[in-house]
């Protein structure tokens, strides 16, 4: 008689969450209230504020509020998602530019979508693999987000403004209408 080799992942015991359905989009974002959820990484606040200004000036959003993550490395607790979701129409969050905060930013984005609040996550290009893996874990394979070249920390305010200009249009699109998912 031979024994089976035991599986060290524990995966047989876990149960899958339900597949993500994106939050309903209105078709455009004019007049919406936006929360910029900045994660405290260097330049994140500046980056998001520049994006917020462009969304207001060029895409007609109404109020723009800034909120801060207490801990950049982990996803926000559900009560924070609820509270932020209740005070706005759409969320922009980031900047994912480290191992844990990129994955956490995606997890936050997916949580907002599940809450019913359209979200746009900004990640640096260096962390696409971990961001996509988190989307899988959250049962949102192919979840769309916005990338910016690495690094973001260390950029001058003018360079941050340029980066914001490069992605503001994509962010507006992601928030206005459901995008086809990337290949999972």
């Amino acid at each position: 008689m031979t024994n089976a080799i035991m599986d060290p992942t524990g995966q047989a015991e876990s149960q899958a969450a339900s597949r993500l359905t994106l939050a309903q989009r209105r078709g455009d974002i004019s007049g919406t209230t936006v929360v910029l959820l900045e994660n405290g990484k260097q330049n994140a606040r500046l980056f998001l504020e520049d994006v917020g200004a462009l969304l207001r000036d060029e895409h007609g959003v109404g109020e723009v509020k800034v909120r801060h993550k207490a801990v950049f490395s982990t996803a926000e607790p559900p009560e924070v998602i609820d509270a932020i979701g209740a005070e706005c129409d759409v969320v922009v969050t980031g900047v994912g530019d480290c191992g844990s905060c990129s994955a956490a930013a995606i997890a936050d984005g997916v949580q907002f979508e599940r809450h019913g609040t359209p979200a746009a996550v900004i990640c640096s290009e260096a962390f696409v693999a971990t961001a996509d893996a988190m989307a899988q874990v959250q049962d949102a394979p192919g979840y769309r987000y916005v990338t910016t070249p690495h690094p973001v920390a260390g950029l001058s305010p003018r360079q941050v403004q340029e980066r914001a200009g490069q992605v503001a249009g994509q962010i507006a699109q992601l928030l206005a209408a459901a995008q086809a998912r990337t290949a999972a």
């Binding site: 191992g99 994955a103 956490a104 971990t130 988190m134």
Partner: protein, 359 residues
């Protein structure tokens, strides 16, 4: 017992199967069978289905049984399993390990210290070559934690593990304190456990750097030599940091002979470890970044920096001190704490009566 030697080709097939499943850290693992895992589970009173830890953000958890499978695969003996469970808990008391520390670009390593009679009962090396490998419990207990991270929690390199470079021997830093030659109370006792307790204390570290000082008999000179390594600006990220020392017996005994307790040494380091404003400015770390959660940055305004000292250790809890290694040279190790040492120890569950194997 088998009357004939085991078949090496069968063994290799089983090992290759584990590679194909993605279950190894690059080195061969011991393929785990249920009877073998049952022997691990018999060494603990904890229920196999008890959830040891859950990482909500990754949607993964590790039960006692899954930990036992990984311990068997890492090459542990069943009787090491209570140490593995205590080591896991001790590491997870480090604040950074609870957050996203395992996913960090820093790629920190657990540093695990064992105290008590269990060191000798299980054969943990406490003396020559504590960082150098060659001893089964020292090698397999930390390897188990690495396999748990990889297999049970799905933190795999290049995906959820975003380590930029990491450090050599990431899953191999585990040793017994050299209590017999330490002039001070055991580490576990210094964190509040009773004398003679079998216990584990752990933290996450980013690197280890030796201090070789066989040069002076003056304790202050010796401490200044350590301070130079402890304060280097390259490892300074936040306003303050935490740095520990694994003293060799010779350095520890010299300090103790001069009247220094463990706390005196800690206080000395807190008082004297710092960088001047000009040294910080030279390295672009003289200011605190706005909204940067305590991260240092380069000061934007032009000014002439002074020689005012910025202390980098905030208190005794920032300076874990351990004694280990051989009493054959005055060579010690500074280790850089990644987040924050918990300043606590976890008691190891007492060994249970051996269970007669039924297979």
């Amino acid at each position: 017992m088998a009357a004939v030697a085991p078949d090496p080709d069968v063994a290799r097939d089983a090992i290759e199967y584990c590679y194909e499943q993605g279950w190894t850290d690059g080195l061969p693992v011991v393929p785990a069978s249920e009877p073998l895992v049952d022997r691990f589970l018999a060494c603990t009173g904890r229920a196999p289905d008890e959830v040891l830890w859950r990482m909500d953000h990754l949607g993964r958890e590790c039960t006692v049984r899954t930990a036992a499978i990984n311990a068997a695969m890492a090459g542990c003996l069943p009787q090491y399993f209570p140490v593995v469970l205590a080591a896991w808990e001790a590491v997870m008391r480090d604040r950074a390990a609870k957050g996203g520390g395992w996913q960090s670009t820093s790629g920190p390593a657990p540093l695990i210290v064992v105290n008590g009679p269990v060191r000798h009962e299980l054969g943990f090396n406490c003396t020559g070559g504590v960082f150098a490998g060659g001893f089964r419990p020292n090698a397999t207990v930390p390897r188990t934690l690495g396999l748990m991270l990889r297999n049970a929690f799905g933190v795999q390199p290049h995906v959820f593990d975003q380590t930029t470079q990491g450090l050599p021997g990431r899953w191999s830093i585990c040793f017994g304190e050299n209590e017999e030659e330490s002039p001070w109370e055991p580490l576990a006792v210094s964190t509040g456990l009773p004398e003679g307790t079998n216990a584990v204390s752990a933290t996450l570290t980013r690197t280890c750097e030796f201090v070789d000082n066989r040069h002076t008999q003056d304790p202050e000179q010796l401490l200044w030599d350590f301070a130079d390594t402890m304060v280097r600006s390259g490892s300074l990220i936040f306003r303050s940091q935490s740095v520990g020392v694994v003293f060799c017996p010779e350095h520890a005994q010299m300090l103790a002979a001069a009247g220094y307790t463990r706390d005196h040494v800690k206080d000395w380091f807190v008082e004297h470890c710092g960088l001047t404003e000009s040294a910080l400015r030279r390295a672009g770390k003289d200011a605190m970044s706005e909204g940067g959660q305590g991260v240092r940055s380069a000061s934007p305004e032009p000014r002439v920096p002074g020689d005012q000292l910025t202390r980098i250790l905030t208190g005794r809890e920032d300076v874990p001190i351990v004694v280990a290694g051989a009493r054959n040279a005055a060579i010690s190790m500074v280790f850089r704490v990644f987040g924050q040492w918990s300043n606590s120890s976890v008691a190891i569950e007492p060994a249970r009566a051996p269970v007669v194997a039924v297979n």
